[in-house]
Every structure is written in C-alpha cells, then in structure tokens.
C-alpha cells in the first residue's frame, strides 16, 4: 500500500489537480474544480526546479530523484585490496602510490592499515619511509638547562638530566614550501578537523600577504618564486601541527633549500638539524630548567631548536641550545619537520609485517 502513495510534494500536487477535476465533474461545481486543478498545476510548474524535495517519510526509500553527492570516502577505508593480493601493475593512479607521492607514508604503515596492504605496496611504503625519514633509536638523552655553560661545575643546577626518548622516525629534511603548498592547495586550512577546536577563530587569521590562507610570507596562496625547495617559514606552531595531522588524516642571508647542506647531515642522514631555520618541537619551553632559573614569559612558549640562518652567535646554534617562541607566532625563520614514533609504524620481518609480540621484540632489538 505504501508504495502507491505519492512520494514527493509534486506528486501530491498532481494528484490533487486530478482529484479536483474529477470532483468538479461529479458535482455541479465543475468550474470550481477546474480552477482548483489549474491553480495546483501552476504551483506544480513553479515548483519544478525543486522537484528533488522529497517528503519526510519518503526519504529512506531512495526517491527517484538523484541523491546528493556524498563526501569522498576516507582514503583509509578504501586502502583495502583483497588478500591474497596479486602484484599491482604499478599503475600511477594506484591509491597507494598516490599516497606515497603525497608523503602520507605514515598513514599507510600504521599497523591497522599495513595488515591489509599487498606485500608489494607495503614494500613501496617502507622504501618511501626509509627515503624520507631517518630512524632515531630509542635511548637516553642528556637534557641540560639553558644556562648550562655559565653555571659553575659544582652547582647542583648544572646537573644534566637523563630522559628516556622513545624511538622515532624523523624527516631527513625540513618541510619545504612545495610540500606545504600541497597541504594548502588540498584545503588544509579549511579542514577544521586538523585544528584544535579552541583555535578555529584564529585559523582565519593565518593568511599570507594577500589575505589568502597560507604562510605569512607567501602571496596569492603560493610561495615566492624560486623558493619551492626552501623550508616553509612564517607558520605558527599550530600550522605545523595541522600539517603533521594531515599526513595522518585521510585527506644565509636567507633560507637555503631543504636539501642543501648535505655535508652537515647526521649519521643517520637527517639534514639541517642545525642552521637554516629554527624548528618547532612539541615540547614546552623551559621544561628542563632548574626551578630557581626558570624563565617567565608572558605566554607559554613552545621550544624551538636548531638555530636559523640569522642566528648571530654560533654558541646558540647547536643541538643542546633551545629557545622559545609563542606557538601563535609566524616568523620568518621558524620551520618544522615531522617525526613518527616506532609504535606508529608497522615493523617488517623478512618482508612481512611483524605482529604483536614479534613487533615489540623487534623494536627492542632495533633500539639496542
């Protein structure tokens, strides 16, 4: 019975027109019936553009009108080739390759997703990770107070504190303008899920010189000409976080290119850990200061490290020196790079992902 009921307002109007004509013919009020039918048809004609409007009870039944386009499905869900997997032909449009090209390797290598990847895709992702990030094994790191050099040797405040740092993968290069442009063009500043809710009003103020969303020193939503390989600067700590979150989500007188200064790379191939630009870290500034040497600031600062091209004193450009900056500041000499915890990436054993205890054991082995 339900299926014979009209499903849209227009259907109801058409039925009313026919009914009024029929009622007018049956009774002596045929003129009145014709007038009502005519009026109904006029309303029907006016409503024609809105024919997609369905009545409330008809919506679950998939009306004949075409459905509104749905938002694109999260990439995470679609990366599920059936197992056992056959080797892909290497087509460039493969979703895995697209994600690798976009630098979203970390997402692919999450244990939950890696389990559903083909061996070849997994290997591709692993290779991409090895190329773009260096492994920093877990271990103890000596943290010094900022004023270490000026404190007397016998001052208790001078004591270094050993802290345990979990293993992680660290970008070999700081994030470049070209990489950041992909984030901006991909709507990074419009995806509110990438940003802290408390920061949403401020995100609108993160614009370039021409008022477009983007780093402070860009124009018309793009970086200055010839600077595509230079580290992106003029970004706040929050913009750096949003960029990193995007990788996880579905979606000298000046700076030098991020690939320059290779000779200064660390033993595991991380470039420009000092010099070029300061880099945001997730740590709060002053976390390692002795209580009586605490530096008070107007707002809580985030720690930045590494020094920049315009740092004046060499003694302020080394791995132990830290400075602080307001997390909302968007300065000309502060960039960032991303890091990835061992625990966030699947570990490979003989070309296959390790599971459960195997992975934990392997992590310990690697860090040892």
């Amino acid at each position: 019975m339900h299926r014979f009921l009209p499903h849209t307002v227009n259907h109801w109007l058409a039925a009313l027109a026919a009914l009024s004509l029929f009622a007018g013919w049956l009774t002596t009020y045929s003129t009145l019936g014709a007038a009502i039918a005519l009026t109904t048809l006029c309303i029907l004609a006016i409503r024609a553009p809105h024919s997609k409007l369905a009545l409330p009870w008809s919506r679950p039944r998939q009306p004949s009108t075409p459905p509104a386009p749905e938002p694109p499905a999260p990439v995470v869900q679609s990366v599920r080739p059936p197992r056992p997997k056959k080797a892909k032909s290497g087509a460039k449009d493969s979703l895995v390759e697209q994600m690798v090209d976009q630098g979203r390797v970390a997402l692919l290598l999450r244990p939950q997703i890696a389990a559903n990847l083909s061996d070849i895709d997994l290997q591709k992702a692993q290779d991409a990770l090895d190329n773009s990030m260096a492994m920093v094994p877990q271990g103890q790191v000596a943290m010094r107070p900022r004023c270490y050099e000026v404190l007397n040797g016998d001052t208790p405040d001078r004591a270094e504190r050993l802290i345990q740092v979990e293993g992680l993968f660290l970008d070999r290069y700081a994030v470049s303008n070209a990489q950041y442009l992909e984030f901006v063009s991909g709507g990074g500043y419009e995806q509110m899920s990438l940003w802290d809710e408390a920061l949403w009003p401020a995100v609108l103020t993160f614009v370039d010189r021409t008022g477009q969303p983007g780093p402070r020193f860009w124009e018309n939503g793009s970086f200055p000409e010839g600077k595509e390989d230079h580290p992106v600067v003029g970004i706040s700590w929050y913009e750096a976080c949003a960029y990193a979150a995007n990788l996880w989500s579905s979606g000298l007188n000046t700076t030098v290119p991020v690939h320059a200064l290779e000779r200064g790379a660390s033993a595991n191939g991380v470039v420009q850990l000092v010099d070029n630009v300061w880099e945001w870290t997730s740590t709060s500034f002053g976390a390692w200061e002795p209580p009586n040497r605490k530096i008070e600031t107007q707002t809580p600062l985030k720690s930045i490290r590494g020094g920049a091209f315009d740092s004046y004193f060499e003694m302020q450009v080394h791995s132990q020196f830290q400075s602080g900056e307001n997390p909302l500041a968007r300065k000309h000499n502060i960039g960032f790079r991303c890091a990835l915890g061992f625990c966030d990436v699947v570990q490979m054993t003989d070309g296959h992902p390790a599971h459960g205890n195997d992975q934990a054991a392997q992590l310990q082995e690697v860090s040892a």
Binding site: R146, C147, E149, V150, F285, G286, R293, K294, I295, E296, T297, L301, G307, A308, D310, S311, Y312, F313, M315, Q316, F321, S323, G324, E325, N326, A329, R330, K331, N333
Partner: protein, 284 residues
C-alpha cells in the same frame, strides 16, 4: 744623553704644547696629544682628523628615552659593521668605541642584556637616556649634549616599539620632546634640523612582529603625535624597525626581575644607519 738619565728636549713638542688644540665638540683648548677633551671628554681624534686631513667628521647621534635600547643597538651595530667586509665598515678610533661593542656582545652571547648604562656625566660617550631627557626638559643642563647634537649631521632616534604598541603615550611624548628640542636647537632653514636626516627606529620590534612589515604604518597607529611632528617639522625622515632578540623572557634574580633574550637574531640593524649615510651623501 740617555745614559746620564736626561731626555732630549724636542723643540717641536714644546712648540706644539704652546698651541691649544680645540675640541671638535665643545671648542675647549687641549694639549695636542690629549686622547679625550679635558672639558667635555669627547675624543680628540675628531679634532685631529678635522685639522690634519682637512675633513670635517660627520657625526651621527643615537638618542632615545631611557630603556629604548641604545646600548644594545649600538653594540650590535658596531659588531655587525666590524664583521662585514663590504663597503660599509666600522673602524674604531679608540678603545672606548670597542668597549661598548665588547660590553654588549659579551652579555648578548650569554643570552643576557647588557647592564643599564650608568649615569656618569663625566663620560659623555656613555651618556644614559636620563641625561638626554634632563637636557631636553631643562636646556643647558648638559652643555656637551647640546654642543654635540648641534654638530651632528644626522640622528637615529630610538623608540621602544612594545611600549608604544602597549599604548604607553610616554614614549610618544618623550620622542616628540626630543624632536622639538632638535628643531629649536638649530632652526636655520638650509642647515638646521629641518633639512638634516632623521631615522626614527622602533627597537625591540621582534616583540611586535607586524612592526617589521610597515614601520610607518605602525608609527601612524601607535605614535600619531610623533608622525604629526615629523610631517610638520622635518623634510628628511624615515621610520625603521629593528630587533636584536628573537624572543624575550624574564628571570627573577635576588636584585629583581631581569629581562633575558631567548636567542640573538638581529634584524634590520644596519638599515637605518645606511639610510642616514645615503641621505648625507645626497646632501653634499
């Protein structure tokens, strides 16, 4: 003669002693080999240069209210210019010039600000901001300041940008007083301060980053009185923004709260000085 413990009498030296060497700043007489003027403690090197090379030294003063950052700015400027191997170089003429640089750099390299300049009127080249303000408020309190400013070809006026941004009108008023003092000091049309270049420098601009984007707009918004004075009284002036520390914090010390720079990254330090020199060249 030396073996007998006697010195030769250099007649030329004796003759030189009889002729007083006038100080370039105050005009007071001095011995020809004096390093500093015995009247105003100005370096006599200026007078010697004027006499021997027949070149009148062009002097540029750096003035500003107390706490505006004159010591840090001058220390950083002199250090940057002495490091450069470009056309614009610094060659210190005396130990006192290097002392300022040494004093400032030693502190900044340890992430400290140099101690506040002591109020010692017998050392004119270390004259603190308070003395200048005293002279402006009560002319002729420090005649050497008056004489020196009168001889200057150009001036760098330092203004504390964070204080101005915070709505501290005192910064605006102090700088306006300095301007009026200068213009009354020498009101002659061709050579007076109306035609001499004046660089208005917002210091500590790293604490209000947008000041770097457009110093003139910053001045218009936060020091409107000063902008008005400049427009009415001066022909050659320009606003600049400079910063030495990337960020600052404060530490509680037994003797009080002390500001500390969190890193040193000078910005725009040389620009106002270079602009002044360019302006002076065009005036020739």
């Amino acid at each position: 003669m030396r073996a007998n413990g006697m010195l030769e009498l250099d007649s030329y030296r004796l003759a030189a002693y009889t002729v007083p060497s006038p100080c370039y700043i105050c005009g007071g007489g001095n011995n020809y080999d004096a390093e500093l003027c015995r009247h105003c403690h100005a370096p006599m090197a200026l007078a010697h240069q004027a006499m021997t090379q027949k070149i009148h030294p062009r002097m540029i003063a750096t003035i500003g209210p107390s706490g505006a950052g004159k010591t840090v700015y001058l220390g950083m400027l002199s250090d940057m210019l002495s490091r450069q191997d470009e056309a614009l170089q610094l060659l210190a003429r005396g130990a006192f010039s290097i002392r300022l640089q040494q004093h400032a750099m030693a502190a900044l390299s340890q992430c400290e600000f140099p101690e506040k300049t002591p109020n010692e009127p017998d050392r004119w080249h270390w004259m603190p901001g308070e003395s200048l303000i005293e002279e402006v408020d009560h002319p002729n309190t420090f005649p050497v300041i008056r004489a020196f400013l009168n001889k200057c070809s150009g001036i760098l006026v330092l203004i504390d940008a964070p204080r101005a941004e915070a709505g501290d009108n005192d910064e605006d008023f102090q700088t306006m007083k300095l301007m009026t003092y200068l213009c009354e000091l020498d009101a002659d049309d061709p050579t007076g301060w109306k035609n001499r270049p004046l660089a208005l420098v917002f210091t500590k601009a790293d604490q209000c980053e947008h000041c770097f984007d457009d110093p003139a707009a910053f001045a218009k918004r936060h020091t409107p009185g000063l902008v008005q004075q400049c427009r009415e009284r001066l022909k050659r002036y320009q606003f600049f923004a400079v910063g030495v520390a990337g960020a600052i914090g404060a530490r509680n010390e037994p003797h009080g709260r002390v500001l500390v720079p969190l890193r040193i990254e000078p910005r725009g330090i040389v620009d106002p000085f270079r602009w002044l020199l360019d302006e002076l060249d065009t005036m020739k």
